[in-house]
Amino acid sequence: MQNRGYYDQYGGAFLPEVLIATVEELVATFEKAKQDPSFWKEYADIMSEYSCRPTPVTFAENLSNYFGGGRIFVKREDLNHTGAHKANNVMGQGLLVKRMGKTRVIAETGAGQHGMATATMAAKFGFKCTIYMGEVDVQRQRPNVFWMERLGAEVVPVKEGTRILKDAINEALRDWVTNMDNTHYVLGTACGPHPFPEMVSYFQSIIGQEARRQMLEREKKLPDRIYACVGGGSNALGIFKAFLDDPVELVGVEAAGRGLESGEHAVRLASPDASVGVAQGYKTYFLQDDDGQMKETHSVAAGLDYVGVSPILAQFKDSGRVRFEAATDQEVVDALSLTIQKEGLIPALESAHAFAQAFKEAPKLSKTEIILINQSGRGDKDIFTVADAFNDPTWQEFIKKKAEEYNA
């Protein structure tokens, strides 16, 4: 491996020896695919036929009028098959799995979106599939577990550590070191060892490529600011990548959870709480203590509840190319509520972080300025979590009745 995937000091491939040969095979397969002009076409075709791409850009006229500032547009990644941008990465990696001749895929999942997408891809391509999911997230996102199992995947609840996303990644890595001969690890975000950060953002870059073209066609100009939520960073990099050389302000929004002061958050880049470290195969900012032990994180959105962040975004933090902000659980629930009422759009709790930050800034922009928000996923699927976030009493009553029916 000559190129070890460094973005200034971030990235790399800190791997146990047993995985080196497998990862080198993956690097070689990915490099070859990138050189092959028919590969991207194959990828774009399957995304078009199977996942409704290109996803539209929607003008949020009511929200724009409500804030009276910049005009707000929304890139609709929620309209992908399985309901989130995760499908882009998963289908791309699925094509690579076919090229490598492997027959089994494994994945970690937080919110369940990536697990759902991977299980769907495995069903379509005929792969065996195991999904690792933290026990806490299994509780939070039970409906996704139901669907993953219907799709034929084995869902393994991870009971180690903090029992959320990072622990699911560790378990997936442990599976991979054992079964790499026939198994590919479909990492869900632009983190982990090289080539994952580059590879995942390569597949996700389809979002920004489309959005750039769509904005130019519709508005004859580029957006002034683009907002995306940042967990691992794949949807943010996906939409940002096409605009890196443009005069466009890029804003990544992390999960401030119960507030920065509370310590219960997942803010790696927009707070001084994180420091540079090496874990899960790569070097980046981690929420860790002085000894280098990872801390517990919190967010209302399971998909943002992660200790590390893409090394590519860490580089953009240092260079200043991307501005990082954070939105609290409460701000996110309020933004979600407003978006549903004004536009009839239901962003996932993860995506609602991007909306929350855009809403803070929209009134300060002029009416000629354009805001583009990446709606990375849909929220209606996460009805249990969203209903909890809204603390909806009639929903709770319904659930109690339903439970009684099962008891009867």
Binding site: L15, P16, E17, L173, R174, V177, T178, S275, A279, G292
Partner: protein, 253 residues
Amino acid sequence: MLEKYLNSRLQEKEILLMTHIVLGYPSFEDSFKIIEAMVAAGVDLMELQIPFSEPIADGPVILQANQKALADGATVQKCLDFSRKIAQTFDIPFLFMTYYNILFKYGVERFAAAMAADGIKGAIVPDLPPEEGGEYLAAMQKHDLAPIFIFSPTTPDERMQYLSSFGQGFIYCVARKGVTGVDTDFSRQLGEYLGRCRRATKLPLALGFGVKEKADVDFLKGKADIAVIGSQTIRLVDNEGVGAVGAFINSLR
């Protein structure tokens, strides 16, 4: 230095024993008693694992020991202080085993200096291939410490030679794919793999992952120089207590 010690021990014994503990598990007092019993039973060298919250190369037994030790307040400084005492008390070589973030956050050079000052002879860092280990290798060399590198059955011959060119002391050969603490098939295939390892390096060979009884150690005689006992002693301490350690080690040869 470490290699010389191992070779002189190998003049007297057909195979050496290396054992492993997680520092602070089940407690630092028990760690001391376990080490004391192991040394008395004739263990030739030991790995002291500094616990880490994300031990990706370890299976459930060592993983849970890491978590428990951390939950009970094991810090890197406590581990270093404890290890100094150990190295002063017992006359066998001790190595650190830990993940790279522990060194990185402590400061790689500062960590190596502390190891040398405390009398620790080398380190095994399973998530640090030499390609990422420039600073580590320089610091280890400066302080005359042995960086131990790992071979696995998936490592091609050429890469084994490459790894060997950075290694000191011995090579840690992982018996199979997977994580620690899972059964290994001690078969002809394992013998062939060890033959491949032997041809790739002049350093002594340690074989670890799944070694848990006398038959396994006997199988390795003539094929490897050091048998590594890892998860099995943790299991033993969990099930039968610290007092069972000495008899277990004695039963291995």
